[in-house]
C-alpha cells in the first residue's frame, strides 16, 4: 500500500510541539501510531521539535514558561510512545542520568534540562528528586552513562551538590558531571565562580541556553 503524506504528518507533529498545540500533538501522534508509523521516526521529529524550541530559548524568542509548556507536551508524547512500544530503544549521541540531589525537591530545572538534552540527541534517564549520591553512581553504571546531571534548588543545596559530585568522582565513574541551572518558580539562582570551583563538577551552568552545547562538548561532539 502506498502511503501518501506520511512525512508531512510527522512534520505537522513537530510543528504542533513547536507551536505549543498540545491537543493537536496528541491527535497527530495517535494517528501515526495507529497507522503503524515507525516509532523511531516519530522520536526523530519530536526531537527536532524540542531542539527548535531550545534554539528559540537561546535566541530569546521564548522564555522558561514556553520551554516548560513544550517539555510537558514532549513528555506526554514520549509516554504515549512508550505505552505503544514498550522497551523502545532510541538511537542517541549519548546517555544522560539526571536527578535532583538528596533532600531537595526543586525539579523545574530537571524537566527543562532533560528535554533540552533529549532535543540535542541524548537518551535521558530521570531519577526524580531526593536522590542519594550512590544512586547516581549506580544508575550511571547500569546504563553506561556519558553524563550525569545534578539539579538542586534549596539554599543549602550547594553542600548536597558537592556531596553528590564527590561521590561520583570517588566511584571512578567515567561519566562527566554537570550541575544544572538552579531555577525556581520566579527566579534563577546563580552559582557564582567561587562556588563553581568549590563544587568541582565538569560544568556548572547558570544558563539553560548553555546546557545542550555544554553536554555535547563534554562527550566530544
Amino acid at each position: 500500500m502506498v502511503r501518501f503524506g506520511g512525512k508531512a504528518s510527522l512534520r505537522s507533529l513537530r510543528d504542533a510541539l513547536i507551536e505549543l498545540r498540545e491537543d493537536e500533538a496528541e491527535r497527530l501522534l495517535n494517528e501515526k501510531l495507529a497507522d503503524g508509523e515507525n516509532p523511531l521516526k516519530i522520536v526523530e521529529w519530536l526531537r527536532e521539535g524540542i531542539n527548535t524550541i531550545g534554539h528559540q530559548y537561546k535566541d530569546g524568542a521564548v522564555g522558561i514558561v514556553e520551554l516548560g509548556m513544550a517539555s510537558m507536551i514532549l513528555q506526554g508524547c514520549l509516554q504515549n510512545l512508550r505505552d505503544w512500544y514498550e522497551g523502545i530503544v532510541v538511537p542517541s549521541v549519548g546517555r544522560v542520568v539526571i536527578g535532583t540531589v538528596r533532600g531537595d525537591r526543586g525539579d523545574i530545572s530537571r524537566g527543562l534540562v532533560g528535554s533540552m538534552l533529549f532535543g540535542a540527541g541524548f537518551m535521558i534517564y530521570d531519577l526524580g528528586d531526593d536522590v542519594l549520591p550512590e544512586r547516581f553512581v549506580e544508575k550511571a553504571e547500569e546504563v553506561a552513562a556519558n553524563i550525569i546531571v545534578l539539579t538542586g534548588l534549596a539554599e543549602d543545596s550547594i553542600g548536597t551538590l558537592k556531596e553528590a559530585v564527590n561521590a561520583i568522582m570517588r566511584s571512578g565513574s567515567p561519566a562527566r558531571v554537570i550541575v544544572a541551572p538552579r531555577i525556581g518558580i520566579d527566579n534563577v539562582f546563580n552559582i557564582d565562580d567561587d562556588l563553581c570551583r568549590t563544587v568541582q563538577a565538569d560544568a556548572v551552568l547558570n544558563d539553560l541556553a548553555a546546557v545542550s552545547d555544554s553536554a555535547l562538548e563534554l562527550i566530544g561532539n
Partner: protein
C-alpha cells in the same frame, strides 16, 4: 505634626528623581540578620517583633541607614495569608532550617471559575479552607496587618527610617502561578489560557485594592509589586503582553492615583523591557533592578523618570571584602546617582554574608 527625618526626606527626593545630601541606602535583610543577632530561623520566621529586633541590631551597629525592608512580615504572611504551603522551620522542618523554595500548591484547575465568580478573596477562601481552616481572607488580612502596624510605626517614628514596603499587589498571573505550582501553571496555560485570562481580568481590581489596604493598615504608602515571572528569561513577549504588562501598567497608574508609591520588584534581566517603564507615572515609582540588568542603560533610559534601586550583587556580599563592597557601591553611586537612585542589595542579602560587608554598603553611601 509628624517630623520628617533626613532618611525619609532622602527617600522621597530619590522617588521624585531629585538630589539630596547623599544617595539613600535601602537594605533587605532577613535570615542573615537573624544569624548576626543570634536568633534562630523559626523565631525570625514566626515572631515579627523578634525579627524586627534582629534587623534593628544590624541597623544600630551600622549607624543606621535610610530604608528598611519589612521582612519581619514575611513568615507570618506566608503562614496566614498565602494559598500554598511552604516547608517552614519548626513546622515541617527543623527549627533552624531555612524555609524551602519548594511550594506545595493548593489551587486546582477548576478554581479559575471560583476566581471569576468570587474574585481573589473568594479564591483565597476556597483554597485556605482546603487546609481545614475556618478562614475569611479579608478578616485575616486585616488582623495580620494590624498586628504589624506597631512595628512599622516604631521604625518610622523611633528609628527615623522608611519602612520600604507596606502592602503588596501581586498581579493575578503571579498569584495563580504560585497557587498552582509550576506544573499546574504550565498545564493551565496550555489547556485553558482563555480561562486564565478571564480570571486575571476578574481578580485584577482585588489585587490592587489588597496592596492599598494592607499599606493603609501599616501606615506605609510603598506598595510592593513583584514581577519576577515576567522577565524575558521566564516569558515570551507574546505572553508578557497578554498576561502581564497591561495589568502592571494599570496597577501602577491606579496606585499612584490613590497616593501610593509602587515599588516594582523586577528581578533577573529586564534590559530588553526598560523602555516600557516609561509608560508608568513619572517620578512616582521605584524600580528595583538587579545587577543582571544593564543598570547604566537603565539610568540612561529612566533617568529623570523613575527612581532606580538595587545593584549590589549577592556574590559580592558573600565572597568580597568590605573594601571591595565599598568600592563597588561607590561606583554604583557615581554611575546611577546622585538623583533618582537608592543604593540597595539585589533581592535578599544571603544568609552567609559577613555583617561587615553590609556595613560597607552603608559606609559607601555616607562617604561618597
Amino acid at each position: 505634626m509628624t517630623r520628617i527625618t533626613g532618611s525619609q526626606e532622602r527617600v522621597r527626593k530619590a522617588i521624585r528623581c531629585e538630589t539630596s545630601d547623599r544617595v539613600p541606602v535601602a537594605l533587605r535583610l532577613d535570615y542573615c540578620a537573624a544569624r548576626w543577632a543570634g536568633l534562630d530561623t523559626q523565631s525570625f520566621t514566626f515572631d515579627p517583633e523578634k525579627a524586627s529586633l534582629a534587623i534593628e541590631w544590624a541597623f544600630d551597629n551600622a549607624g543606621g541607614w535610610d530604608a528598611v525592608d519589612s521582612t519581619w512580615t514575611q513568615g507570618t504572611r506566608f503562614d496566614r495569608l498565602e494559598t500554598w504551603r511552604t516547608p517552614m522551620p519548626g513546622v515541617s522542618l527543623p527549627p533552624d532550617k531555612l524555609p524551602e523554595a519548594d511550594i506545595e500548591p493548593a489551587m486546582i484547575d477548576v478554581d479559575y471559575d471560583v476566581a471569576i465568580e468570587r474574585g481573589m478573596y473568594g479564591l483565597i477562601n476556597v483554597i485556605r479552607r482546603r487546609f481545614g481552616e475556618r478562614y475569611d481572607a479579608k478578616l485575616e488580612e486585616e488582623r495580620v496587618y494590624k498586628g504589624f502596624a506597631p512595628i512599622f510605626r516604631y521604625w518610622a517614628e523611633e528609628k527615623g527610617a522608611v519602612p520600604f514596603r507596606g502592602g503588596m499587589t501581586r498581579l493575578p498571573i503571579f498569584q495563580f502561578g504560585y497557587s498552582r505550582g509550576w506544573f499546574g501553571f504550565i498545564k493551565d496555560l496550555l489547556r485553558q489560557p482563555e480561562k486564565v485570562k478571564e480570571a486575571c481580568d476578574a481578580t485584577f481590581n482585588d489585587t490592587v485594592n489588597m496592596g492599598e489596604y494592607q499599606s493603609r493598615l501599616v501606615g506605609c504608602n510603598i506598595v510592593f509589586v513583584p514581577a519576577g515571572h515576567a522577565s524575558p528569561t521566564f516569558m515570551s513577549r507574546e505572553m508578557y503582553d497578554q498576561y502581564f504588562f497591561p495589568y502592571f501598567r494599570e496597577a501602577c497608574k491606579q496606585l499612584v492615583k490613590d497616593g501610593f508609591t509602587p515599588r516594582l520588584h523586577l528581578n533577573l534581566d529586564w534590559t530588553p523591557y526598560l523602555e516600557h517603564l516609561l509608560e508608568l507615572p513619572k517620578k512616582s515609582c521605584i524600580v528595583e533592578l538587579e545587577s543582571n540588568t544593564d543598570l547604566k542603560k537603565a539610568k540612561q533610559i529612566l533617568g529623570g523618570h523613575m527612581c532606580i534601586c538595587g545593584g549590589v550583587p549577592p556574590h559580592l556580599l558573600t565572597r568580597g571584602t568590605p573594601r571591595q563592597v565599598q568600592e563597588y557601591c561607590q561606583k554604583l553611586i557615581s554611575e546611577l546617582g546622585p538623583d533618582g537612585y537608592i543604593l540597595m542589595n539585589d533581592d535578599i542579602v544571603p544568609i552567609d554574608t559577613q555583617y561587615e560587608n553590609v556595613k560597607a554598603i552603608v559606609d559607601a553611601s555616607k562617604t561618597a
